[in-house]
């Protein structure tokens, strides 16, 4: 027997760390989703597949700005010393992924704005005519679409990866001790973004392509999750115990049912049938992918906070 008793009972800390509630998973999910959308838009521009104004790459930026703002609002709600939030922009801390993230976000907004100005929808342009002037100025720049594509791609990869590295840099939580979380969140962001953009795409060809891309991302995601566990299970006792939280422990039911089965395997199966035209495209599979990506962030944030160096012995 090994029993630890403590007189400490600090709020958010005891009996186990629960400093982050719903706000951080929501932000990580929306950040990943926007990152995926930027990469998709960037791909269309770089490949020159943006003929006509129906291309999804012209619809993405406005939606992305709205979603990212919602995510950042959730992040703001989580802060305990809100009046001091501006302090993140008075310094750059090279070792802090949060500092990197703050500055990346500051670059993402102008990039999305320029992307938006490439084609201002009529219903906005009629009400705010100065946007049309801005649009004409932006479009007069040589090769602007290619530049916008490249910037979207680079910033999308940085944003998507940082949301995972943010967690893996917190060394005290063994479940997060894996840099592959950055790649996992990036690919999960790509799969949820493909699912969302697939549903709003107006061109049938684009919609089909995104469903196929989504299948590829979901398959890669399964492999990355396997690698994530192989890494933890071949590490020390605390990492092994923390992996067990998801594999067999208190978070296993949510993880296996909602993340792996309903979030990846079932939609992969449905979308495989629909891209080979054996069944019709419906929103069922994409919605499952989006919910699966959301629950993945939730379960990783919560189980990660539960994982611990000191009470690892007591997690069965």
């Amino acid at each position: 027997m090994n029993e630890l008793t403590t007189t400490r009972h600090n709020e958010l800390i005891d009996p186990f760390v629960h400093v982050w509630g719903w706000e951080i998973p929501v932000y990580l999910f929306l950040g990943g989703l926007v990152a995926g959308m930027m990469i998709i838009a960037g791909y269309f521009f770089i490949k020159g597949r943006d003929e006509g104004h129906k291309c999804i790459c012209y619809q993405i930026p406005l939606l992305a700005m709205v979603l990212l703002s919602l995510g950042m609002f959730a992040l703001f709600l989580d802060l305990e010393h809100k009046a001091y939030v501006w302090r993140v922009y008075t310094t750059f801390e090279i070792k802090s992924p949060m500092s990197w993230g703050s500055w990346i976000l500051l670059l993402v907004y102008p990039a999305l704005l320029v992307n938006f100005l490439l084609h201002v929808p009529a219903w906005i342009g009629d009400r705010l005519p100065f946007l049309n002037h801005g649009s004409r100025m932006i479009r007069s720049i040589k090769n602007i679409k290619r530049h916008v594509g490249k910037v979207n791609l680079v910033l999308g990869i940085m944003l998507g990866t940082y949301t995972g590295i943010l967690l893996s840099a917190l060394g005290a939580r063994p479940l997060w001790n894996s840099a592959i979380l950055g790649i996992l969140f990036l690919v999960s962001g790509l799969s949820t973004a493909s699912a969302l953009v697939h549903m709003i795409a107006r061109e049938r060809e684009e919609s089909e392509m995104l469903a196929r891309a989504d299948n590829l991302f979901l398959t890669i995601e399964l492999f990355i999750i396997a690698l994530f566990f192989i890494g933890l299970l071949s590490s020390t006792e605390v990492q092994i115990r923390s992996a067990m939280l998801l594999l067999t422990g208190p978070y296993a039911a949510v993880f296996w049912v909602f993340v792996i089965l309903m979030g990846i395997v079932v939609p992969l199966f449905i979308q495989n049938l629909s891209v080979s035209h054996r069944i019709k495209h419906t929103p069922v599979a994409p919605v499952m992918v989006i919910l699966g990506g959301f629950i993945l962030r939730f379960v990783l944030v919560q189980a990660g906070q539960y994982s611990h160096y000191l009470n690892a012995h007591f997690i069965k």
């Binding site: 090994n2 008793t5 709020e11 305990e80 992924p97 500092s99 060394g171 005290a172 160096y309 000191l310």
Partner: protein, 179 residues
Amino acid sequence: MARFAMVIDTKKCVGCMDCVVACKTENRVPEGFNRDWITTEARGKFPSVQMEIRSERCNHCDNPPCVHCCPTGASHVHTLGGVVLVHHELCIGCKACLASCPYDARFIHPEGYADKCTFCIHRVEKGMDPACVAVCPTHCMYFGDLEDPHSPVSRLLTARRYHAIAPEAGTDPQIFYLI
């Protein structure tokens, strides 16, 4: 350069919590929160049992994850003795430092900033011991400079066997428990 550390003799500690009360009084720690606390670890099966009582707090690590993860530089290493401190007016309350600490030594002060043990740096700078060390009725706690080979902490760590908490977390903790 000084390197402040604390040595606590678990053979002498009775878990009276005087250190806890002294800290709360000295640092006006708000109700419901603790900067230091008593942990009791029992091992074995009756009748062959072993118990260790420890007075625990921030380990003022040499490789402090709470300082590395801070996005504003609020968490920092003090120029004197490597003490880990928080600038309240720089802290945004993001709680990354709370999540990054293997010892769960930090908490959010009701005013919104991250708070923790300071090694009573305001006392140490005047040449006094931290409040918890000063009040210990069994004299089981020692505070001093590890860079000075003649300090009580250096001599105790040379003479006695000791352990730190979760050194495998890679933080290089600076509180040592004599066994």
